[in-house]
Symmetry: C2
Subunit: 334 residues, 2 copies
């Protein structure tokens, strides 16, 4: 920058102002500076700005890479909205591990990001949240909403949409519906479970506790949970899987056991994905508006970046129920 200033015959401050448009510069001078920059192949290093100004036009996103395919659309939603606002986005993988998450976030903070979107991992309150409290960085939580937290949050209507699907199964005549629940540390798991309970309440049905099994939010967990359900004295006639990973496990276990969906067992799940439609039968799922969640999160973040004192807001977006054949309520067609 000094070189550019020298070559253009102006001071470095003028060069800086030309670059950022932070104050009036006579057109002639501006021209000269720009020519000098071009001539010298000057590369602006916005990062140095963060030293003095503390702003580098970058926001961060922290989530677990494993939560595929939710991932992709969410990232695209966030990235798109950030680009629209003239912000760059950098992403880190939390591995859904509080320890790794906190170091990854700390690294982003060291890089002076101006805002953060985070899908917190289980246990983040002890390690990552304190970091955020120390630093004055605005942040928005996505996916895993924590009602006790005074923070901006965006997520999906877990409870209502799960209840709607379970309700649908109940109206189709099912009385024993298995629930393969996600890892209990996650608010999403709890909310979906509440939805399951709620639907039963509305129908005045008592839930056999044995029907609720822990799927640990993983494929393998889903498989085991399903085996447990099948071994019950009176197995369920329908199963609901709490997320897409568990869906894999559940379906695998059912296939291995020679149980056919929906003839022998009705099935529905949280999380839609490209393949859900291709299965035979097509899978009835709850589709999250991932891209919209991402976009809203960035909007919330932008608001907070301009107004630190704005009241925290929690947004719940409605999910869409993708009604296909696996729930067994319609005759299987092509």
């Amino acid at each position: 920058m000094t070189e550019v200033a020298h070559s253009a015959g102006v001071s470095v401050s003028t060069v800086s102002h030309v670059i950022n448009g932070t104050r009036l510069v006579a057109p002639a001078t501006r021209e000269k500076v720009q020519r000098a920059m071009l001539l010298l192949g000057y590369q602006h290093r916005p990062i140095a700005r963060s030293l003095s100004a503390g702003s580098n036009q970058t926001i961060g996103l922290a989530l677990t890479a494993a939560s595929n395919p939710y991932w992709v659309e969410l990232v695209q939603g966030i990235d798109g909205e950030a680009t629209r606002a003239g912000l760059n986005l950098i992403i880190v993988d939390t591995r859904d591990d509080a320890r790794h998450e906190s170091t990854a976030v700390a690294n982003m903070l060291a890089h002076h990001i101006e805002g953060l979107v985070i899908a917190p991992s289980d246990g983040w309150r002890d390690l990552t949240l304190p970091l955020l409290r120390d630093h004055p960085v605005p942040y928005v939580i996505v996916d895993r909403i924590d009602p006790e937290l005074r923070a901006d949050q965006v997520g999906v209507e877990n409870e209502a949409s799960t209840a709607a699907v379970i309700d649908h199964l109940i109206s189709a005549g099912h009385r024993r519906i298995g629930m393969v629940a996600g890892i209990s540390g996650l608010s999403t798991s709890a909310e979906r479970l509440r939805g399951y309970r709620l639907a039963h309440q509305h129908a005045d049905l008592v839930i056999d506790p044995a029907l609720i099994v822990d799927g640990a939010s993983t494929s393998e967990g889903g498989r085991r949970a399903t085996l447990a359900l099948l071994e019950l004295p009176v197995p369920p006639t329908a199963v609901f899987a709490g997320n897409n990973d568990m869906t894999i496990g559940v379906l695998g276990a059912l296939k291995a056991a020679g149980i056919r969906v929906p003839r022998d067992m009705a099935f529905a799940a949280f999380d839609d994905f490209a393949w859900a439609d291709l299965f035979s039968p097509g899978l009835t799922t709850v589709a999250q508006p991932s891209a919209a969640i991402g976009a809203r999160a960035v909007q919330l973040l932008l608001r907070r970046m301009t107004d630190r004192e704005a009241p925290p807001q929690t947004i719940r977006l409605p999910a869409e129920i993708m009604h296909r054949e696996s729930c067994g309520c319609t005759p299987v067609s092509v």
Copy 2:
């Protein structure tokens, strides 16, 4: 840092040296400094170091978020290996768009990353590559290998593994095999196509050019390509899809047309994924060793970071063929 130095009764330079272990510090002094850091809750900002020293223990990864699910394992492979080496990883989404890719990479460079792993988008040579040439940042290319480039690269054996699968279909008696090819700007597409051709050559079969259709590497492209194949005067008896997105389109089109796999049409594809095993029939696929590719890429990067002059290396990792039922060579079983 000044505060810490003051509180510990030493100079800032000593504090710096304690933090980085860059020169001998008497144990007693070191103790004092560390206590002071703890006491004041000092947060080291490695980013500031990059101003003077140009090192901040962070490497970057640039790829398209859409290339799911390849993504997840690749990211995990890279992240894991980076962590092992004591490096932080930040990721950016290129959107498979050269323009977006170049600004995203430029942003990472501005953040003074010490190395870059990149799965280049089509057209990156004009926008992103020049950036890399200007900056002295070591980089490694993954997935899309460019044979003409003198750079470190890691990818999968596209040609040989595709040839093996096509060969398998040929030995099963198929003489007209449709090839749903990926976007032509990608080296992976070209290599897989070469594998397709190679297998035919080995079997002394002439390829009807109409059997090779463009699937544009997308689901929708795969669908259209499949329709084109079905409308041929003599349709193929088997189809090979060049990646997982196109697989969705192909399978969707076949299902919509009421064509059953593998009875009416054999099927195989590049890219394995969790659901492939759950389909009925299970899908025969080529599984990339994504995690290994990521890990190797980081290893190559580390080598280059220490030795800028090392000869560029291109590594091809073998793929694994997941032999299931969709290729029709075995009786469909449970």
